[in-house]
């Protein structure tokens, strides 16, 4: 038995499939961790997770996007250390990357 072709509804079915896949990603971490007892070890692993996600996202991006991106992120972190303002850090980072790219870095 074969399913009939998606036909004219194909695009909407594709969008729906994307929506379901994304929603499952969003809920499954919370659902799965509900079944895992929070032992001290699991707790330490979870405590390390946010910073790990941040580093695992940022370092490869610097590697991929190049020197200008690295300078921008460093400038943003420095700004954050000095002033603790996300808005300022964002502006400093954007200004740095625009400048660095304009200079051809």
């Amino acid at each position: 038995m074969t399913m009939p072709d998606p036909g004219p509804w194909g695009a909407y079915i594709a969008i729906l499939a994307m929506a379901v896949a994304t929603y499952l990603c969003r809920i499954s971490g919370v659902v799965l961790m509900g079944f895992i007892p929070l032992t001290p070890r699991v707790r330490r692993g979870l405590a390390a997770l946010p910073g790990s996600i941040i580093f695992a996202t940022v370092l490869p991006l610097v590697d991929r996007l190049g020197l200008a991106a690295g300078l921008a992120l460093a400038a943003a972190v420095l700004s954050m250390v000095l002033r603790r303002s996300e808005l300022l850090a964002l502006l400093v980072g954007m200004a740095t990357v625009s400048l660095a790219r304009a200079l051809g870095l």
Binding site: A21, C25, V30, A47, P60, A72, L73, M80, G93
Partner: protein, 243 residues
């Protein structure tokens, strides 16, 4: 140590207030310019690919995940087979798989709320309100409204900004030129500062970063975030707190 706040969570109230939602909306507002430009870029890409406006808007409303929507535009086609739809769903899940870990990281907090509340608020769960929620928790906050309010505002803005992007077409054909591609990376990097808990706690993060770096060089796509972050979590779990 950071576990102190987590212990606080197991008792006491689990609030979700309007004041918290407004705070979340205020905290996320610094990201709105970046989100608007990103949504405009998606709208433009969708128009360029020949999607009807209705499909672009429905995708922004239901999927609400920027990178995966842009990737989908690369894979979009005029005719769909079930295989192509399954492939698109698989790519979408890969791109968004980091949300699994982000949700797991906040589960000790989210898990205190009714399932129905989480089923709704997690629909609006993205990088931005995960970061905001993580920082807010690190500072001892416990009002889920902060995450929910930030997510709701971002969703509304994301959806609204898709429209002008679609209509204006290719005005922002090259977001790279204005550094728009750097908004989320910069925000991610800036968040290192408020979640910083000393060098010892940062050891797993370094492991995560290095493993991700190596994985990214070896494997295409976005698997590096998952592999790296899991390595960091395992390292953290194996490190003894009082050693």
């Amino acid at each position: 140590m950071s576990s102190k706040h987590d212990d606080d969570l197991s008792t006491g109230p689990a609030p979700l207030t309007l004041a918290g939602m407004l705070l979340g909306a205020r905290l996320v507002s610094v990201l709105l310019p970046g989100v608007i430009v990103f949504a405009v870029a998606f709208g433009a890409a969708a128009a360029g690919k020949g999607l009807p406006l209705s499909e672009a808007m429905v995708m922004s409303a239901l999927v609400y995940a920027g990178v995966s929507q842009l990737v989908a535009m690369e894979l979009w086609r005029p005719e769909w087979t079930w295989g192509a739809i399954a492939g698109l769903a698989a790519v979408t899940a890969t791109v968004n798989a980091r949300a699994v870990l982000q949700g797991a990281a906040l589960q000790p907090w989210f898990g205190r709320y009714p399932k129905a509340v989480n089923a709704v608020q997690l629909f609006f769960f993205t990088d931005a309100n995960w970061l905001i929620g993580t920082r807010y928790r690190a500072e001892g906050g416990r009002d889920l409204g902060v995450v929910f309010g930030a997510g709701l505002l971002l969703w509304a803005v994301w959806l609204a900004a898709t429209l002008p992007g679609y209509l204006l077409g290719s005005l922002v054909a090259d977001p790279r030129r204005y550094g728009i591609d750097m908004v989320m990376p910069i925000f991610f990097a800036a968040m290192i500062v408020p979640v910083w808990r000393g060098r010892r706690a940062a050891m797993p993060w370094l492991v995560a970063g290095v493993v991700a770096l190596v994985t990214a060089r070896l494997v295409d796509g976005y698997a590096f975030i998952i592999v790296g972050a899991l390595s960091g979590a395992v390292t953290g779990a194996l490190l003894d707190d009082d050693a």
